[in-house]
Symmetry: D3
Subunit: 230 residues, 6 copies
């Protein structure tokens, strides 16, 4: 790893990002082909937030948030900060003061493969964070990492500028080059779902709506009347 | 395992189920003799729901929700769907559309030993789910399982029709044949607790109310005035 | 371990405790020198509570809450009950009735390295608990432990009378003898943060406010314009 | 749960059990239709053992091995003892003395959804155990459970007399009624594998041996020469 | 926490330590009254070692082994080094070179609530380690901790000089002041077990040897002949 | 993700790979700058193996080993197969037959972020595997993934052809472009360590050998004679 900060990054298409934010994580993940989902141990510190934006990436050392301070300067309005760590860590590497600094630059939220603190204050200022843990353990500023290099965060490789989509269902990364196509597919899925929702609400069975009965019979599913008939 | 759907199941006594729903999980579990509690890794996706109902059971393959679609048709008003899995899995096997279908049939909620998604929408439609994880990872419809056969869910064997009781404290299964007796005992515990609550709120000590002092002395508990006397 | 109850304990300075409650866990932990933080697996059963008080300590056997009943009598107004366990356990060793008894004595909350139940009722009565798990599994009253002896809880040694500080960020223990000094330092940190918060909110960078640029350069951090330059 | 000991149980067919022991867990599990496998957190305390036998089942309370002592009397030559627990527990509920008692009755080994101790002595006497943990924590003999009733162990329901197959790959339960058929299928799989092993060792590709190429192409797999062609 | 090294510590009685080493962890833990056992996540890096010795304690920062280097100088022949950590950490804070230095001073082994590396070399030089993880992740030497102060390690408070007993079953801490009495009780248990072992090996049942039948009947255990009789 | 197989990959320099294999994971990881280490949950299925080789990468679906069969054809003598998974999974996706096929092509071993089975047979044929779990659960061949695309495995991004180094301490990935330089640095560290080892074995303290005393004093470390002086 080279201790470096990359100043200019190409950001994901902003219209596509807007669409992905509106449809949310589950639909975006389906549209991308079920790829790029961060591990489910990453959880929002409070419920209800739904954001999307291009990633500014940080590779941090465990228990050391020096590079997050460095990264603030590289952020633009609408960005989402993504922090990976060179080793497993649950320390509270991020809190209210850093959130205040990011908010001042228009950053939408934080994804961090480590711990977070000041969660009450963060909720009050409505700055959403998806983290691995909540911990009051503060961090040092001693060892370099990097900003805007590819990082692995919660099991997914994130390139700077990739679209980050996050809500109560988790976090998905849509690679820059796939953003426009994924947003289109996602919008289509989203629109289609409304029709399905109405039919299901009216009592239609998925078995019929999706034409599953034939496939089930072919695969060998057998209906019996009573437990004794199994 | 035979890939089979059992159509007719005997459901737990509905009056007893009503009582169990009113008293909640902790009291029902005590009344049953501290048995049948699902493992505490199963958590509600939002706080505050309290339900009970006969189980319609699903044995699903990991990452495959085909059999949940099949199970919808077997559900009646007041049922609770219980999904076990043939291997550890955290994929989001259940979401808003399936909840809409279940809601249309009067199903009260879902217990799933795997992941769940669309949790914001589920809370908005007030469809409670107890799951092992929240994950946007969707699932295929490729391999058969079974419906209304005995399944193990979060460490407990569930027979179709058994009473499922679920609230913020977890999920307990009351076997069909024990439902009436358990509901009676549970109601009695519930009524008794009110008297105890009042006495304790008035400052009476549990040591006195439960007559513990003699037992403690007999077991060898010693009171000393200061740390140096230990 | 001797099965003993110590009646007289020296409690942490009450003014200092008041200050620690006001500043919260993260600030108290920093002021103490980043020491005494309980492991982050200990979580509040509901968000928003912030308390501090001298510890009454309980050493309990797994699945046995006999000693918690014994401890109630030793509690005074403003205390926080801290329960350690002789082996890993997630049973619901604490619930509404015990909370009612503690409330009657003016106890502020509970820290327990095991499970808790009746969480809905506890939230309704606003009795905060930090626990390892939520579980309806009740407990026996069969084996002795001790009250007001040193206990290890969630990785931290707690002496009776030590100050317990707990909020959404976790739980920190401030040893009695360090309370006054820690409260002073904490108050200072707390006051200083307000100034920093305003400067950061106005767009000043932490890089400048903390004078980090020189240190970063010295450590070898390099800025490049484009990914190709790495 | 009724505190009961069932004296007479029907045991799985002994020839079938012999076959299952010879083929091992992975093959038995495939032959049964990928069902009945205990969760992989259950691990052998030492490598190399491979056993099968009818289950004598124990439902134990956490931290209490009274019922294991009771179960010894119900064991016959060739049995495997299976211990489930009414709550999560890692205490060392089993050690050298109990193993000595079981060995005297010809029991082949132990499956326990809790902890085990004296692992060095157990290996020296070659008494295999599959457990969730190794722990020196001893247990009390205070609360009843049951012997030879259905128990859930590591996620699988075990009826008394079911065939238990255990080796370095884990533990699988073959229901009594499926034992003969499963053993036959397993033997066939086992015999077939030898031919495949030889062909693969000679350099034949699975792609060809299993005729996968057409299916892969149909599913849309594309071969490209270089990364740039993706 | 004060950054301090205490030079003179009182060490546990060496004869008692010798006895505890001979009887091993499970027996020592029973003799102490089932107290002081480290959590079972602490595992030996290789099987077969059995040691005991007075503790030299280290409080280390996560990912920083500076204080272990400091502690070497404080070690005497026969000591066991015990390392606690101010936050959860799995980095490889200890390896072959430190083991070589400790070996040169006659230290018997290491207990560390973090990670260890060079495990192959450590086994070849027969230097036993009980750790939470194996990890090649090296550590910095940047932040002070303390040597020979009380530390919490894997859930147990360890005072400098306390007896550490470790084998394949885990690690137990016997407080200095309890060492002689515990060693005597442990020796007695150890001697008694031999008689029991012989009787059990000869086929005597624990039910009879421990006179359990009456207690079981009194507690309500019922024997039935067949499953239908439950 | 595109379902694709890349045929031609650039492999890491073979001399460098040979050096990295000789020095092992801990030294390689240090030489690379403490980067690229897989998470410590990845463990060897048996102790003692030490390998290095260029990565052939597989992106697999959970519970589906179709792409591993596809990957065999792309392997050359000396390669190491690296399997990442699109979701958390512990199924036994790899066993003896696949190992036989890989062995026939000269593959040195497997790194898999999922489960492995037939571990006894794998040890007998001396085919080393580093996996997240051991599980007999077999897998389907139903959904496409990709071969020789970048994959995330156990928290690290692996490009096809990168050097994989694996031993009892874990697994580290050295990017192709850094291999030669890293191997040189690693060899130097390795050679230097021998001198240090001899000095430490002779009783020299690391405190002196590394000149730590001044730094420690400067940082504020204080030596006291007795606990009372703290």
């Amino acid at each position: 790893m080279k201790p470096v900060v990359v100043r200019n990054i190409k950001r994901a298409d902003s219209n596509a990002v807007g669409t992905l934010e509106a449809v949310g994580v589950s639909t975006a993940h389906e549209a991308l082909g079920r790829f790029g989902l961060m591990k489910p141990y990453l959880r929002p510190i409070y419920a209800g937030a739904q954001i999307a934006g291009p990633a500014v990436t940080v590779l941090a050392q465990p228990g050391d948030n020096w590079m997050i301070h460095v990264a603030v300067e590289q952020c633009q309005k609408g960005d989402v900060l993504v922090v990976g760590c060179t080793a497993d860590n649950t320390d509270g590497m991020f809190g209210e003061l850093l959130a205040t600094a990011l908010r001042a630059r228009g950053v939408k939220g934080l994804i961090i493969d480590a711990g977070c603190r000041d969660v009450k204050a963060l909720q009050e200022m409505d700055f959403p964070v998806w983290s691995k843990a909540v911990s009051a353990k503060g961090t040092v500023k001693a060892t370099l990492g990097a900003v805007n290099v590819p990082v692995v965060c919660a099991g997914v490789n994130v390139d700077p500028g990739d679209a980050v989509v996050a809500d109560d269902d988790g976090v998905v990364i849509v690679p820059k080059k796939d953003c426009v196509e994924t947003a289109q597919k996602a919008q289509k899925r989203f629109d289609d779902e409304d029709g399905k929702r109405k039919r299901l609400a009216a009592g239609e069975l998925g078995l019929d709506m999706y034409n599953m009965r034939e496939g089930l019979a072919k695969a060998g599913l057998r209906y019996v009347d009573n437990p004794e008939d199994v």
